[in-house]
């Protein structure tokens, strides 16, 4: 927390070109995701889907939301929210035996 006194306002924004490339990448991943609906890949399905989801999430947050370039403080709040939510609701679903019976 004590390292928060940083200023990182002036950063270079990626070019429009870069944004397009990222969008293209996102589109490709989405296509791959949708493809799993038609092509059956068995037990690997859910892990694959999760990986792709997390990657997309990460890309949007890092590039479109500028977390890559912006102050760490923003990342910290967002990550705290995500980590709290994931861990609390993971435990919540575990108590309901969601993973074994859901």
């Amino acid at each position: 927390m004590s390292t928060s006194e940083t200023t990182t306002e002036d950063h270079e924004h990626p070019s429009d070109q870069k944004y397009m490339q990222i969008a293209l990448l996102l589109a490709v991943i989405t296509a791959a995701e949708v493809a799993t609906y038609f092509v059956h890949i068995g037990a690997a399905l859910i892990p694959t889907l999760m990986v792709m989801m997390v990657v997309k999430f990460f890309i949007v947050a890092a590039w479109f939301m500028h977390l890559r370039f912006d102050s760490k403080m923003f990342t910290r709040f967002f990550v705290t929210g995500i980590v709290l939510a994931v861990s609390v609701y993971f435990i919540f679903l575990t108590i309901f035996e969601f993973w074994t019976k859901g």
Partner: protein, 650 residues
Amino acid sequence: MTDTMSEETSTEEQRPLGVYTRPKGGNGWRDWVTTVDHKKIGILYGAAALFFFIIGGIEALLIRLQLATPNGTVLGADMYNQVFTMHGITMIFLAAMPLAAAFANYLIPLQIGARDVAFPRLNAMSFWVFLAGGIFINLSWLLGGAPDGGWFGYAPNSGVVFSPSVGMDFYAIGLQITGIASLVSAINLTVTILNMRAPGMTLFKMPVLTWMLFVVQLLLVFAMPVIAVALFLLMFSRQFGANFFNTEMGADPLLWQHLFWIFGHPEVYILILPSFGIISEVIPTFSRKPIFGYDFMVFSGIAIGFMGWGVWAHHMFASGIGPLSVAAFSLSTMFIAVPTGVKILNWIATMWGGRIKFSAPMLFSVGVISMFTIGGLSGVTHALSPADTQQTDTYYVVAHFHYVIFGGIIFGLFAGLYFWWPKVFGHMLDEKMGKINFWVMLVGFNMTFGPMHVLGLQGMSRRIDTYSPGFGFEAWNMVATIGSFIIALSVLIFLINVVVSVKRAKGQPPCPPDPWDARSLEWMTPNPTPEHNFDEIPTVESLDEFWHRKWGTDEEGQIVRVATAEEVCQDGTATGVHLPSPSYWPLIFAIGLPFLGLGLIFNLWLTLPGAILIVTSLYAWIFEPVDDPDGPHGEHHADEKEVSEEASDV
């Protein structure tokens, strides 16, 4: 709230479309309803909270009257259920939380050396929305019955089938409204603490109170959405027939319990941490020693806030969650005693070897140390999950949480009231009456809640409107009831103290700026705090900056005075300090919300005026410049060099 950020028109030359004349200052009621000054808002929070505290207290007295004797007939079963539900809701959401908000609003900007909060108008909105929510919930008494499902509102008992009156609708919607207030205020204060510290005030030079309040705001930011979802699910179930708790269709009633307590447990730390912060300011001041182990104090506060997220199911040891879950939550709960214990012991160590003045605020603080410990220890006995299956839903739990709540929160907040009263109002409360206030309250409190331990272990259930003779409950219930009236007497003494002290101070000059030889920045301003807080924002070099400006050490290491308080304190006469202008819109926005609620409950047409008020006020708000060029502070512009723009656009 995101909506309000959409457009900022920070400077406006002429008055364009949609910008209305702003209220001018002044000192009448109009000034109060349009104020955006964090100090006035703090006072408003405090006054409203004390008002609701008395309402909640009167409800408590009714509970105690009903339970004084077996087969009591003061309230019927139906009325009793409404009264105890409203007692819990009122005390938690309308008294304890806003009283803490009063301190947060008033003191955070002062303690970090700021002129206001980050978003002054949002701050005003938070208060009015809270008040609207509080009034809205209490309107249920007149409009068809108050909530009757307990403050924890367990499904499916809170559903329409089992609670057909409108009470639980008021609960679901009203708490949603106060929730908006808490969330907005929490975001506001988070930004304030991070962004508006005086030069040199690093996070680890912030007073412990500000730190604890910071942790509280973060807990609010992350906990409020969880209760919001729970209340939405309840509201949609009641209003639109959703099946979240319809067990006939396979819904699980434990869903509500989890969501409620995922919020509910962080909530209890939201309630207690401000009080911990307050006494961390009071105890060093009157012990004439710095706080013992500042870092540990801060980190234990953070640890408590953090661990508070992993213990919620300790409210559900009998609910039928599996034994593994029970075991896990049992252990996680126990270890919360560790950081809390660090605090208790550090306060003791702070006092140890001190030269202590047991003034009224100090008495209340010492009260917290010992009384909270009792409650904390009974909490640990709850954490033994097998034992808790005997204790849960008995008066033993009621004893536990009133010891932590009354012995921890209320005593702490009273310490704060006595301590900062001169800062806020410019005169002291009577010390002697303050001491009497403390002793009467201590006796009454222990008489009321001490016996509840015994009652609980003897098997008296919670939330029962009456009990039969022959279970051995009679004597202690009577003692508790008498005790509760002694508490009421102590509160009355406080109120009389206020009246007497205000009368005595009439026509007198305000009390000196530093009556307690205090340590933190807020005391660098004169009493009462001037509207602009600091004439000049101080540059901070150390923790307890103000104290270090007064005292130094000589060659032999003795503490010697280097300056008098009067020399260090600012005189509050600066002009030309540019402050945000008052605004009507926060109030008007807040008035809109209860109409939405009433509309959902009674007649959808009622949402129309609500929506109109909300949309208009938001629109007008967005177009309203933060500072009106011809606003009440216009005259200050003569002296431009002092202008410092602290407040942002929203």
